[in-house]
Symmetry: C2
Subunit: 94 residues, 2 copies
């Protein structure tokens, strides 16, 4: 745990916003119900999180790379499932 | 536009991940279709984004406060609509 209380708030915030995508990815994967999920949201969000990763690399911040790397994998999964649902390749029954 | 190219990547990333919630909030608001949206995701995410705002305040970073403040409003709206849908107070017809 970082000794700096400000950094502790930041790390906790990062943990929450990254962990948040675990239940969404799990729900989307297990139910294949993507009907209320916005395609432009996940397109923009995946692009943005990829840029956060790139930003982490260029400033040499491993925490930024790791937190956004995990989110990138999860958001990409939701995006892929949404795209697949629109193409009729997945549905709740199959 | 910041002169530092690294900062430019960071600001662009922040703009994308914040803007991403506009189409989701709009879709959730206009369709009231929250079926594929994960409640624990929005609970964790709203909490985390609120902590990012607090972090912005304690480190004195207006960009962090503003970017996360906008996201907080949008994510809170989706969370509220999800909670309302679970309580049967909203539906696609009304």
């Amino acid at each position: 745990m970082p000794a700096d209380p400000n950094a502790f708030i930041g790390y906790t915030a990062a943990a929450f916003t990254t962990a948040a995508f675990v239940p969404q990815a799990w729900k989307s994967w297990s139910t294949r119900d993507l009907s209320g999920v916005s395609l432009p949201m996940y397109a923009l969000f995946t692009l943005g999180v990829g840029m956060w990763c790139a930003y982490g690399f260029v400033i040499g911040s491993l925490p930024v790379v790791l937190a956004n790397g995990v989110t990138l994998v999860l958001a990409s999964l939701v995006l892929g499932l949404k795209l697949a649902s629109l193409r009729g390749r997945v549905n709740p029954a199959g």
